[in-house]
């Protein structure tokens, strides 16, 4: 056979379940309890409202620049539902729904955007890593966590996220390759929101889909309607189950649109057309899911309104709490910058700490107690 086409034994699919009218494909529709469906809506709504509130706070100068997550709720929530607390959640930075679901408080999220490392401390009881700023870098941690699971003979799964832009980084390639070579139980979710800041996906790559990159790693790939929480749930569940059963990694491409600017510092009118955004407006995940729930008589408008009120109060209280909290140590203490670099502070660093304390006129004996207290309370992995 001197010249012939090579057959690629691949498993590359597309999945959508819920259309824009809120109609589900009954053959594919997952069987979920009414209470679960209701809770799903609530988590997504909470994430949405937190995002909107963060925007206001940012405009008021009460938090720093942040990347909005509006429109990405279904991707994060649909997938996070399929893992256990002991599984690992390795997010990028638009997984607000997932963070909330995993127990990150609104207070913690606020602390992060107010510029405190304390906002990057994962809650107890779950295996989460915090927001990862350098795009793609977290994917290797996910691969390593999955490899460690196999070495330890455990049955945990790792769920990780990255953007269409992040797919261009070498780390993404290395992570997908390591995970596939070692059959690590990792589900890689690519949030393809079609933009990396200003760069459209068509300039980010020449392949028609992110999904087909799975072929390069001999792993299954599936492209999912990322605005469809049911499809996200089903695709993730399959991938998570396969991973847990020793079937190795999966690449999920969740197709959506970045409805907002990249961050609060971005002005998308510079590089994309308003019309395009409008096309996507009807497809956004919450409206569609609300329609579905209404049709199914799981959640009425009145119930939604009650939810809205509860959430409003919840967010308001969190803001109040945090704005009080940061007036006190350790938040108000700049010397805290020295206290968690190494398990024990080495002499040269203690000297720098003392130097800064002196410059700021702080009595360091007080502070040391705070640190000890805080350390003792650290649970989880440490």
């Amino acid at each position: 056979m001197p010249r012939k086409a090579i057959e690629l034994p691949h498993n590359i699919e597309y999945l959508s379940i819920l259309n824009e009218k809120g109609e589900a494909d009954s053959a594919l529709e997952p069987k979920l309890e009414a209470s679960t469906l209701k809770a799903m809506y609530r988590w997504m709504l909470l994430a949405r409202r937190v995002d909107e509130r963060l925007l206001k706070l940012q405009r008021q100068g009460r938090i720093g620049t942040f990347p909005q997550a509006t429109g990405h709720e279904a991707i994060s929530l649909g997938s996070i539902l399929t893992i256990k607390p002991t599984d690992w959640h390795v997010p990028a930075y638009r997984e607000t729904a997932g963070f909330l679901y995993r127990g990150w408080t609104i207070e913690t999220i606020l602390l992060y955007w107010k510029g405190f490392e304390e906002g990057a401390r994962p809650p107890e009881g779950v295996n989460d890593t915090p927001i990862s700023v350098p795009v793609a870098s977290q994917l290797l941690h996910a691969a390593g966590l999955g490899m460690a699971n196999n070495i330890a003979g455990d049955k945990n799964v790792v769920l990780t996220y990255f953007g269409d832009g992040a797919s261009s980084e070498g780390d993404t390639h290395e992570a997908l390759n390591f995970a596939s070579v070692f059959q690590a139980p990792v589900v890689f979710v690519c949030l393809n929101n079609q933009f990396a800041i200003s760069v459209p996906v068509s300039k980010q790559m020449r392949s028609e889909t992110v999904t087909q990159k799975a072929v390069a790693y001999g792993m299954p790939g599936i492209r999912v309607d990322g605005n469809d929480v049911l499809a996200m749930y089903v695709a993730s569940k399959e991938a998570v189950e396969r991973a847990r059963a020793g079937g190795g990694p999966t690449l999920i491409e969740a197709l959506t649109y970045r409805y907002t600017p990249h961050t609060t510092a971005d002005d998308p009118t510079r590089y994309r057309k308003e019309e395009e955004s409008k096309q996507w407006a009807d497809r956004e995940p919450l409206i569609r899911f609300a329609k579905y729930l209404e049709k199914k008589k799981v959640l009425s408008e009145a119930e939604r309104n009650t939810m809205e009120e509860e959430i409003e109060t919840q967010i308001k209280n969190a803001i109040q709490n945090v704005e009080e909290l940061v007036k006190h140590p350790p938040y108000s203490d700049p010397l805290a910058m020295f206290d968690y670099l190494y398990e024990d502070i080495p002499p040269f660093l203690q000297a720098q700490r003392d130097e800064l304390a002196k410059a700021l006129g702080i009595n360091t004996n007080e502070n040391k107690d705070d640190k000890k207290k805080d350390k003792a309370s650290a649970g989880g992995r440490n």
Partner: protein
């Protein structure tokens, strides 16, 4: 002669360089239609088109590695890394190739490229957006490293960097982008790479700094003069590699006292090198230990605590007083 801020003057230099020399190419993440996240590449794509102003995929090693290829071809790429903190993704290309091709090929193949990157803190950014690690490039043979401290020298240094036959790391202290304006002359200026400037003459103590911390340094010098009657000489290094040993030692020989100020971590930072060179050449003239006012050896904190990390005029002032009263 026009008043402009540093963001504008860097933009001007890019525009001028592209206008003069067709080989000059601007590339990086969002440098095209978005005109750069700090608008440093404003107007360039409209004027020079998307062949010469290139929105790249999101991959730093890709940016630096292909820029090296372009430079080998004969172009003069000016590659932007969106934030200096992300350059580590590409460090292997800078270290292994940009700084070595001329040496490796005994002068046959050269890499006349510039890597621009906004560096430093003070703009309330999130993690990895405030790093200042010029010392790493200073420790990497074959690279040149420069760092402006104001609109006028920013433009002149960028022209020098682009014209330089060897790879230059051009670190932009982003806190200065829009902090102040100054006169920038009509005519294109260049500053020689490898030369520091004495920006204020004095006789009692030498304050040595560069980049963003020049502001705090100059402020401290004024306070010293007003409050203590001390005449500080202020040196703006401008070039990190080659470091202008001559200017450093002449000033220190004269004053006998020095403080070195920079944002990057202290250990193995530029301050150490400045002290080592002073020690080597004019030790006997020193009347007091040289104090380093620098970033501490921790990652620059998230922004709620970053101001405490950064050198400021008070810290410089205290260090100077400590030196003077030694």
């Amino acid at each position: 002669m026009a008043q402009m801020n540093m963001a504008e003057s860097i933009n001007l230099a890019l525009d001028e360089a592209m206008g003069r020399d067709k080989r000059v190419i601007v590339m990086g993440e969002d440098v095209g239609y978005d005109e750069g996240v700090f608008r440093i590449t404003k107007g360039l794509i409209a004027k020079y088109g998307d062949k010469r102003v290139i929105d790249t995929p999101l991959a730093e090693a890709g940016i630096i590695g292909t820029a090296i290829g372009m430079a080998l071809y004969g172009l003069r790429p000016v590659a932007e890394i969106q934030f200096a903190g992300f350059e580590y993704y590409a460090y292997h290309q800078l270290e292994m190739h940009a700084g070595r091709f001329r040496n490796r090929t005994r002068g046959k193949l050269t890499v006349p490229m510039v890597m621009r990157a906004p560096s430093g803190g003070g703009i309330r950014a999130i993690e990895h957006h405030s790093e200042s690690r010029e010392a790493i490039y200073a420790h990497s043979p074959g690279l040149k490293v420069v760092m402006p401290s104001g609109p006028r020298n920013a433009r002149a240094l960028l022209h020098a960097a682009i014209q330089d036959p060897d790879p230059v790391v051009y670190y932009e202290p982003k806190a200065l982008y829009r902090l102040f304006r100054e006169d920038v002359p009509e005519q294109i200026e260049t500053l020689p790479i490898g030369r520091a400037q004495v920006v204020k003459e004095g006789k009692d103590i030498t304050l040595i700094s560069y980049g963003a911390t020049m502001r705090a340094t100059l402020e401290a010098a004024e306070m010293l003069e007003e409050e203590d009657g001390v005449k500080a000489e202020v040196v703006d290094l401008l070039s990190i590699t080659p470091l202008d040993t001559q200017t450093i030692i002449e000033s220190t020989r004269k004053t006998g006292r020095a403080v070195v100020i920079h944002e990057g971590p202290r250990t193995c930072g530029l301050g150490a090198e400045v002290i080592a060179r002073i020690n080597e050449h004019v030790l006997l003239y020193l009347e007091a230990p040289i104090i380093r006012v620098t970033g501490y050896d921790v990652p620059i904190p998230y922004f709620a605590r970053e101001m405490a990390y950064l050198p400021d005029a008070d810290k410089v002032l205290n260090a100077a007083r400590q030196t003077l009263s030694f």
